[in-house]
Subunit: 346 residues, 2 copies
């Protein structure tokens, strides 16, 4: 059965339920507007381990364990873990998978990873290849700064278009429609379709302006989703993007308007929800952990409780490396989208 509704979009034969989530964030994220919603907030961003990298991996592992434990499951009960992060060779996810011992499909989609994992895991469940899948993504302010930008010890000033990388990890537990558990975090949330990302490059070379690098990919995916399904933005109660920040969001509106879609009324960027203005994150939050934790602990609870009937959830990634930037390459972006609906019955 062909489940494609267009070149890049698909509709699942049966909804895939999101039954649980887990989130783990750093202290600054815990002090932000969504602070009370996260499952775990750490005071020490090393978690007492030897490095930020180890701490990030532990956060992702913990988020997965937490999502499973809430439905009284353990890692050994899960069929597939689809995850990734921003670190070279996705070591956070790789080492987390080593500890979890769940069959592992490693993903790299930069900050789009949670959406990439969510739609791919949903397709695999819909195809009959998993009964319980987990997807997750993480980032860590300190590990990312030293990998992509400058050593923290230099105290480099933030550029006016910069965003602050979230220290945090989010994970979701997915099951086929019809499967339920005694204890569930979400009774109504389900993935029903999605749109696969296309790599877009508008020639941005400023690694301190990720929002601009990713906005064209977000616009492309939103417009493809609307075009291919023959719908208007207001078919969604909300369209969320991962971490475009304030600058990228303005660019997204312009690009969508040029394609005939006004999304401003229904759009919210996770990167602008994470920190308050007083927290001085400049253009907002970024990082794989931003969209992953905001989806896990803010968006899904709101959808489950009835605030939204149908949303489009996108996460956007910038596909550059420190080497490609030094070699003068521009920064391509990608955005994957999941259609998440509130189902009346399980």
């Amino acid at each position: 059965m062909n489940k494609k509704t267009g070149k890049r979009s698909f509709r699942l034969a049966s909804p895939v339920r999101i039954v649980s989530s887990g989130s783990f964030v750093g202290e600054k994220e815990g002090q932000g507007p969504l602070g009370k919603k996260f499952d775990t907030i750490c005071r020490d961003d090393t978690l007492g381990l030897d490095s930020w990298e180890q701490a990030e991996s532990r956060m992702l592992e913990s988020a997965v364990r937490l999502a499973l434990s809430k439905i009284e499951k353990e890692p050994k009960d899960a069929d597939i873990f689809m995850g990734g992060d921003l670190l070279n060779q996705i070591i956070s996810a790789g080492f987390a998978a080593r500890e979890l011992r769940i069959p592992f499909i490693g993903l790299y989609g930069a900050c789009s990873t949670i959406a990439e994992g969510l739609i791919t895991a949903s397709m695999l469940i819909d195809g009959g290849f998993a009964e319980l899948a987990v997807c997750g993504a993480s980032s860590h302010f300190s590990s990312v700064e030293r990998q992509f930008r400058y050593p923290l010890e230099m105290g480099t000033l933030a550029s006016p278009t910069s965003q602050r990388t979230v220290t945090g990890a989010g994970a979701l537990a997915l099951v086929p429609y019809g499967v339920s558990f005694n204890k569930e975090v979400f009774s109504h949330a389900a993935v029903t379709g999605g749109t696969i990302g296309l790599v877009m490059d508008y020639g941005i070379t400023d690694a301190a302006n990720m929002g601009a690098a990713m906005a064209p990919a977000a616009a492309s995916t939103i417009c493809a989703n609307l075009d291919e399904n023959g719908i208007e933005p207001d078919c969604y109660d909300a369209i969320f993007t991962g971490d475009l920040g304030s600058f990228g969001t303005e660019m997204l509106y312009e690009l969508c308007r040029a394609r005939g879609y006004d999304i401003e009324k229904v759009h919210t960027d996770c990167g602008m929800l994470m920190f308050s203005e007083e927290q001085n994150a400049v253009c907002g939050a970024s990082g794989c952990g931003c969209a992953a934790t905001v989806l896990s602990s803010h968006i899904l609870p709101e959808l489950d409780s009835g605030r939204y009937r149908r949303i489009l959830f996108l996460a956007t990634g910038a596909l550059q490396s420190a080497v490609s930037s030094l070699q003068g390459e521009s920064i391509p972006g990608i955005a994957h989208a999941a259609v998440i609906e509130r189902m009346g019955e399980k």
Copy 2:
């Protein structure tokens, strides 16, 4: 319909045809025993571009274009490109996807990437999410040496357990069973099942001994495939691993024997096919490009022509980064496996 045959193994409802392949290798690989089989051999490993990284990305892009052109298709005809490589943030695959403009699912499985892509793309086709999918992977001796080991200019001597990273890229075109084209490279090759990798770590810390780091993962995946399907090694005409090299291969035999399976008679390692002894690659070849090009240009033609009826194809990856090694972490490995069968009719 549940297609799982065990915790990690699955059987597709319908076989997924591998209709075409493309390969692009460096000069040394072209001079090896398989040299005449590869589609394109470059003399200059920069391809005249500004960096090895750009050259690697171009090789992957070219391999994908080649695989599609052989079936008279273009990138715009493909629904999904699943690819990855060894470079930080998989820039080879990301930049290739930018040029190809095929909806992109970025993978990271280190040298296991071609098998990870092959089974994941097959599951997505079987699930009804793609009519024409491409998977591909690449590596480049020079870009990898400087990223993971030492600058080439230092002339560091090879350790006795080291393997030489393949400069090359391989890509495969996949379609649902029943779909055929006027021109096809392979008329009989099809993926029928697979086994998803589990991250294994035996505490190896020597980045010059990848074979030993990956052998436990290969053994785990082979034994899981045999256990979960209730079969013996001789059910396969051949079991291929990606790039364990001679040292890793010996370790694999020991580990399988300890689990009650003697695979020596049916096993071949792609890493030991790429270079002749005179080419001085020490323990053999490695890199994402090794398994990808050997599968594309050697194994699949042999299976298609009738030499094999059923094979198990594994690629193995080492999930470390330069940072994790410096931080004293051991090197976890992962291995994904695809069951590839020769089908009598299309």
